[in-house]
């Protein structure tokens, strides 16, 4: 045991003396959470738009005012002809143009139908569709105001309620996601780098020749990172709660335990990587390309899995991060307990056992 503790102490020396790994360990989580929280957002806020009003009557004035008054849009410019529309988009400062047809009110009253054209800059498709939705709903609500008291044959009122994240704050989606990425990267990448570094330096040989068992060596390598990853998870949850006012609906202890499970899964993956490669560089490349991309693209962190093509949906099942994100979102946003997350938890445990078994096998082959 004393041998083992001496080994763990040495690992901490390595970590705290290496500025690069310290930065990855503690700089990255904070930077990512702030970046995703503040900068990368799907929310619509004060988007600059332009209006081309070809009829200039009461209805069009009212609609224009209603749009300008909302917090989502700012009318930056009024255009005078359709020719100016393209020019306005090309400048790039406006994201949408609202074009009222000639004699809008007249058509509305006489024919019961008025046309409004909404043009959006779809170079950014997500924002474009969000903008159209928002503008349409503003116009919709104006129409309902106008029709109040008027008898209509039919009227369908869809009443929408967004549960678990009523304000549609994207940061609520990012906190579990970033936590997953960070835990995965820190645990898997740092372990694989630190083991391959010993191989590269030749110190691994010395450790194998020493009375330390290979099991002690591997566990000794892993223990400091379990500890540091837990600190990271705590930092991320703390930032989520304090800076972004994220409510944690579920049990914090359960969240902590599930995080430890996921950390161990990632560490096992890191050990597996290190048994397969020889240099730190390859270990880093594999961790970044082989882990970071699937975690971002296939875990449901940014792109919903349900809207992926079927082959990708199948592949996403082997990404451990997918299961942890489901768990983290479930606990943080929905407040569900272990009962609802049993399947995900068991899958993560299964993966961990598989990775460990595989690395022990690989490790033995190398020793033979």
């Amino acid at each position: 045991m004393k041998r083992f503790l001496g080994f763990v102490r040495k690992e901490f020396y390595h970590i705290f003396r290496d500025k690069r790994s310290l930065f990855i360990l503690f700089g990255m989580p904070v930077a990512q959470i702030l970046l995703f929280g503040f900068a990368i957002t799907n929310e619509i806020n004060n988007v600059d738009i332009a209006v081309l009003n070809q009829s200039k009557d009461v209805n069009t004035q009212e609609i224009t005012q209603k749009i300008d008054a909302s917090k989502y849009f700012t009318i930056k410019r009024f255009l005078t002809s359709e020719k100016e529309i393209e020019e306005a988009f090309k400048k790039g400062d406006i994201k949408a143009v609202i074009n009222f047809e000639k004699d809008f009110s007249e058509h509305l009253i006489k024919e019961g139908q008025g046309s409004i054209q909404i043009l959006t800059d779809a170079t950014d498709p997500n924002t474009a569709s969000a903008i159209t939705n928002y503008i349409s709903s503003i116009i919709q609500s104006y129409q309902q105001q106008q029709n109040q008291g008027v008898q209509m044959d039919y009227q369908i009122h869809p009443e929408v309620r967004m549960v678990y994240n009523p304000e549609l704050k994207s940061v609520f989606m990012f906190v579990p996601g970033v936590m997953t990425i960070i835990l995965m990267l820190v645990s898997a990448m740092m372990t694989s780098i630190s083991i391959t570094r010993e191989k590269e330096l030749g110190t691994m040989e010395i450790l194998l020749v020493s009375p330390l068992s290979s099991f002690q060596v591997i566990v000794g390598k892993v223990v400091p990172y379990i500890f540091l990853s837990m600190i990271n998870a705590a930092i991320i949850i703390f930032l989520g709660i304090t800076v972004f006012k994220m409510p944690i609906a579920g049990n914090l202890i359960l969240l902590g335990l599930e995080s430890v499970l996921f950390i161990i899964t990632s560490l096992a993956l890191g050990i597996l990587i290190s048994t397969m490669v020889k240099t730190q560089q390859t270990a880093m490349m594999i961790s970044l390309m082989g882990l970071m991309l699937p975690v971002i693209l296939l875990s449901g962190f940014i792109f919903p899995i349900s809207s992926m093509p079927p082959p990708l949906q199948v592949i996403s099942n082997i990404v451990p991060a997918k299961w942890f994100i489901t768990i983290a979102k479930g606990i943080m946003l929905k407040g569900v307990g272990l009962g609802y997350l049993l399947k995900e938890t068991l899958i993560l445990i299964g993966m961990t056992v598989f990775f460990i078994a595989l690395s022990i096998k690989k490790y033995k082959i190398r020793l033979e």
Binding site: K2, R3, G6, F7, G202, E205, V209, L367, E368
Partner: protein
């Protein structure tokens, strides 16, 4: 006093699939001897050494190292030998003192033992002023001496040195060999592989491996007489050419 053998190898063999890396090598090493283990790259000397230090399982044959069986008592062997490899096995980002403490720790020395050894070692090597500097900042020669001393820290019966002097200047090599002689005088057995044929001359006895087999084993002097040449380098070339 009867000379005792600390390494006894009988027909030790290692096969990788159809390729025989080490082909039934038989030899003995006496206590306190400096035994040179020579061979060209790929001749199988590293593989043979790995079996002797307990990190590779032999395919056939027998060997006893420090009184323990390489097949069944690898853990006991590990406790009784020291090892230094061609790459310097010290941690650059740890200080001199921390490196010593770490190696003492993994060999199971008590805290008190480690403290005494550390003080003594730092004093003998004259490292007093830089004991708390990172090893990475030391010149190569110093690192090498330190690595050797660290491998000797737990007073092993045998020290295995795998090309210990690669890439160092002749003066440092000379000093390093003086350390080896001192250790051997105290009764430690030295098992050393090397590329440098002039170093082979320093050994008490040398074996030369060619294509997995030990083709020659004797004192440097007798080997030179046997092949009727004036240097170990020529002995080596003769052997390599005969095989071809």
């Amino acid at each position: 006093m009867k000379e005792e053998n600390v390494i006894i190898s009988k027909g030790l063999t290692k096969r990788f699939g159809g390729f025989t890396a080490v082909d039934a090598i038989t030899f003995e090493v006496k206590k306190g001897e400096i035994f040179g283990f020579l061979g060209a790259n790929g001749a199988g000397k590293t593989t043979a050494m790995k079996m002797l230090i307990g990190i590779s399982n032999p395919t056939g044959g027998e060997a006893m190292v420090a009184g323990f069986d390489v097949h069944t008592q690898q853990d006991a062997i590990k406790k009784n030998i020291g090892y230094m490899s061609q790459k310097f096995a010290l941690y650059d980002d740890l200080t001199v003192a921390e490196n010593i403490t770490f190696y003492g720790g993994i060999y199971g020395l008590s805290r008190k033992q480690i403290r005494e050894k550390r003080t003594k070692l730092i004093e003998t090597l004259g490292l007093g002023e830089i004991a708390h500097q990172l090893v990475g900042s030391l010149p190569l020669g110093w690192k090498q001496k330190l690595a050797f001393s660290v491998a000797m820290l737990h007073d092993p019966q045998i020290v295995f040195l795998d090309e210990p002097t690669g890439g160092v200047d002749p003066i440092t090599r000379r000093q390093f060999w003086e350390m080896i002689y001192k250790a051997a005088d105290k009764g430690t057995t030295i098992f050393v592989t090397t590329h440098y044929m002039d170093e082979a001359e320093y050994c008490h006895r040398v074996s030369i491996m060619v294509a997995g087999k030990i083709e020659a084993l004797d004192t440097p002097k007798k080997l030179k007489e046997q092949f009727e040449v004036s240097s170990m380098n020529d002995v080596f070339l003769r052997l390599a050419r005969n095989i071809e």
